[in-house]
């Protein structure tokens, strides 16, 4: 929703390094709970409890209000038949408490990330690959002109093995973290080249190839910026959803 820094001072990650016995006991319970959850619950709620066929338990009000199984226990014991959840009468209250410990540990983990973290980066490739390999390839070599810079047997060989599916999709749509370069012409006519560090209209700064940082008042030099992602930015404005699905489906074959 928005970044209020209140969220940053969150609780520490659970797991190894627990310092006091109570924390250690909780971690052990969470571990047992994880095994129980995997066996009994993960098929519907996903192994990380973020939901699948069944609800997301990380963001469930009932789960968050529960302390020791007093709310979750009855749901597990009786099921929610009307919503398709079967009853698990064989799970003991101690086992439910372990599952609660696991869910609490998961909640702590996910709350640290909220939506800006890695959750849930495990979208399977087949869910994203709804396009046509042929159409994707045609776009790559045709209107997209991707083949001017990239090759499926060169830099993109095995690309689908290198990145998980959503990362691969996001990266081809608009790769991030690639810095612009700049040629700065000084008043003397001398030219300097390097990675662009700052260009805010008031100052220009580059890091030259030898690693040194240089800066100038913006109005004292001439600057030519080269953005290696310019072609990606231009394409992003043109892609249809079908283009995106086709290109992904094609790239996913490069294993």
């Amino acid at each position: 929703m928005f970044l209020l820094k209140a969220q940053e001072g969150g609780p520490p990650l659970p797991g190894p390094g627990a310092r006091n016995p109570a924390e250690g006991a909780h971690a052990a319970a969470a571990e047992r709970g994880h095994a129980l959850f995997r066996e009994n619950c993960a098929a519907c709620h996903a192994e990380d409890a973020t939901g699948g066929r069944g609800p997301d338990l990380i963001r469930s009000a009932l789960v968050r209000r529960d302390k020791n199984g007093e709310l979750i226990g009855p749901v597990v014991a009786n099921g929610r038949v009307e919503k398709g959840m079967p009853a698990f009468p064989s799970l003991t209250s101690l086992q439910v408490a372990d599952i609660v410990a696991f869910l609490q540990a998961q909640i702590t983990l996910f709350d640290l990330h909220t939506r800006f973290g890695p959750y849930p980066n495990d979208i399977p490739a087949e869910r994203l690959a709804t396009g046509s390999v042929e159409a994707g390839k045609a776009y790559f070599n045709g209107p997209g002109a991707c083949n001017k810079c990239h090759s499926p047997t060169g830099d993109l060989a095995g690309i689908a093995k290198k990145y998980n599916p959503p990362d691969l999709e996001v990266r081809f749509l608009y790769p991030s973290g690639v810095a612009s370069t700049a040629v700065v012409t000084l008043p003397s006519g001398e030219k300097m080249e390097g990675t662009l560090v700052l260009n805010d209209g008031f100052y220009v700064a580059i890091q030259s190839k030898d690693g040194w940082y240089h800066s100038w008042p913006a109005n004292s030099v001439n600057i030519e910026v080269h953005d290696p992602l310019a072609a990606h930015a231009a394409l992003l404005e043109k892609y249809t959803d079908a283009d995106m699905h086709n290109i992904f489906t094609y790239l996913e074959t490069l294993k």
Partner: protein, 519 residues
């Protein structure tokens, strides 16, 4: 006897005016000059000051008057200033600061803390301050001493509800909203008695049975009881119409629209309430059936003027969904509905001027490309009556949205979205046409800070590179800049004391007050 007591009261009142530092309620009804008594400076949300000692001609010589250090505590606070004292906040803290020189007067650090975390500021009522906290409490503090008078729980922190929004004082009401979107929480506005902390009324974003809005949700699941529609930016108030205006946040599950077929009132709406009772007078849904996390809580800015030849009382909002609206604030009639950034998710507008979302741009399991999102966010906009321009720090974005939890029993986020590209810029929108008159987009200018406009024909804000800037209000030309070396979580404010105008910016953990040189 009667006469004597009247005289006595009169004497007390005039003494109060002379010596007390408490907030004169009359100041809330004036343009801010020696006082900046609310989150937005006044009730209108315009963030416009009539001060012009600092102006287009001399702003280039602006210099640092003083700085106030919190010693590392990051600030997202909108300071208020009353009778020469400034109040600055963080999560569970308030600093009272001499607004003439930056010296500390007192520091409130709530027992048990924790310290740190964001807070958007206090409301002041007579000699008391009110703030909401990370654990969703409302605190009442003695403005003289910084001592806690009372605290009440206003929402459920176990469901990750949190405070931070600056409350709004209207007569004998302290009005507040809450934040949080980790679990599915129902949003609300609440009015509290300033003396006792007793709740006077509560307005719920989720409609109850019997309300026509009930039918904008499905009822074969419990989705309408679970929520969304948080109220995390301070609203505005029209004393003549006696209407309180507030924006509401997005519905839940956030990115699954199938689970909540319908418009999902009163989420993503501007609501006009009677501040005495909390009763809804009218609403305008600025993003019906949102599926992209576009809270429409951005400040409803109030101003009067002539619209197409007819005098109007207007309300304008630039929203997170990339759309700009001008309404007649007496009844919510739309005068303008217009995108201020490219927005491919809009099918068109309905008879009331509310956008119709494109169904094929709802998140899908294999992803959809969406533009227009987070057109702006918490950064407060400003309206300058001298130029007739509405200034907003905006972003032109493309994002990809995945539905990760389909079906009608979905909960929580139920999806995932990634920003692909984002270009930040300050836009000046003509309120009579809804068109962008000029854009300050040179190398990322505009962006992360709130905005202040003044009668000095200036617009103050900060850019994406960390520079504070003053722009010409008519053209957007940069007339002054300064690099304070920190990030911005709030906007600038201004006031005049002893004949000297100060402009205050908060950057990271420092408050900087700028003024013209004394000599």
């Amino acid at each position: 006897m009667k006469r004597l007591s009247v005289l006595f009261v009169f004497a007390c009142l005039s003494t109060a005016c002379l010596f007390a530092q408490e907030l004169d309620p009359g100041k809330l009804l004036q343009l801010p000059t020696d006082t900046w008594p609310t989150y937005n400076g006044d009730y209108s949300g315009r963030r416009y000051s009539p001060l012009k000692q600092i102006n287009r001609e001399n702003v280039g010589s602006l210099t640092l008057a003083w700085a106030f250090q919190t010693h590392g505590r990051s600030l997202q606070s909108m300071p208020i200033e009353v009778n020469g004292i400034m109040y600055i906040t963080a999560g569970n803290e308030i600093w009272a600061v001499d607004a003439r020189n930056g010296h500390s007067i007192w520091h409130f650090a709530r027992p048990g803390g924790p310290l740190g975390g964001g807070n958007k500021g206090v409301a002041m009522w007579r000699d008391r301050l009110y703030m909401t906290t990370p654990d969703a409490q409302l605190l009442c503090i003695d403005a003289r001493t910084g001592k806690l008078i009372w605290q009440i729980q206003v929402d459920d922190p176990t469901l990750k509800a949190f405070g931070g929004v600056a409350p709004l004082a209207i007569r004998d009401h302290i009005i507040l909203g809450t934040s949080g979107d980790t679990a599915d929480l129902p949003g609300f506005l609440e009015s509290v008695d300033p003396m006792s902390g007793h709740i006077q009324w509560r307005w719920d974003t989720m409609p109850k049975q019997g309300d026509p809005a009930w039918h904008t949700w499905p009822h074969d699941t419990d989705v309408s009881t679970r929520g969304g529609g948080m109220t995390w930016i301070t609203g505005t108030y029209d004393p003549e119409l006696n209407l309180l205006y507030w924006g509401t946040g997005n519905p839940h599950p956030v990115e699954n629209g199938d689970a909540r077929a319908g418009a999902n009132l009163y989420t993503c709406a501007i609501v006009a309430l009677d501040p005495n009772t909390g009763k809804l007078v009218w609403y305008f849904q600025s993003s019906p059936h949102d599926t992209h996390d576009w809270d429409m809580v951005m400040t409803p800015v109030l101003f009067d003027g002539t619209f197409h030849g007819k005098p109007r009382k207007m309300l304008a909002q630039a929203g997170k969904n990339g759309l700009f609206f001008v309404l007649d604030r007496t009844d919510g009639t739309a005068l303008i509905s217009e995108a201020f950034v490219p927005a491919n998710w809009v099918e068109g507008y309905d008879q009331r001027g509310q956008p119709i979302p494109r169904q094929d741009k709802e998140p899908r399991p294999d992803g959809v490309l969406v533009t227009g999102g987070v057109g702006t966010n918490w950064q407060a906009p400003s309206y300058d009556p001298d130029t007739g321009l509405f200034y907003v720090n905006s972003r032109e974005t493309t994002g990809v949205f995945y539905l990760t939890m389909p079906g009608k029993y979905a909960e929580g986020w139920a999806g995932r979205d990634f920003f692909l590209s984002s270009k930040s810029m300050l836009k000046a929108i003509d309120v009579e046409t809804g068109k962008v008159r000029w854009t300050a987009d040179t190398l990322g200018r505009g962006g992360q800070s709130g905005i202040l406009s003044t009668a000095g024909h200036l617009v103050f804000t900060a850019d994406m590179s960390g520079n504070l800037v003053a722009l010409d209000a008519s053209t957007g030309q940069v007339l002054w800049h300064m690099y304070p070396g920190g990030s911005f979580g709030t906007g600038p404010m201004t006031y005049e004391l002893d004949g000297r105008q100060y402009v205050v910016f908060l950057a990271d953990s420092v408050a900087y007050a700028f003024a013209l040189p004394l000599h």
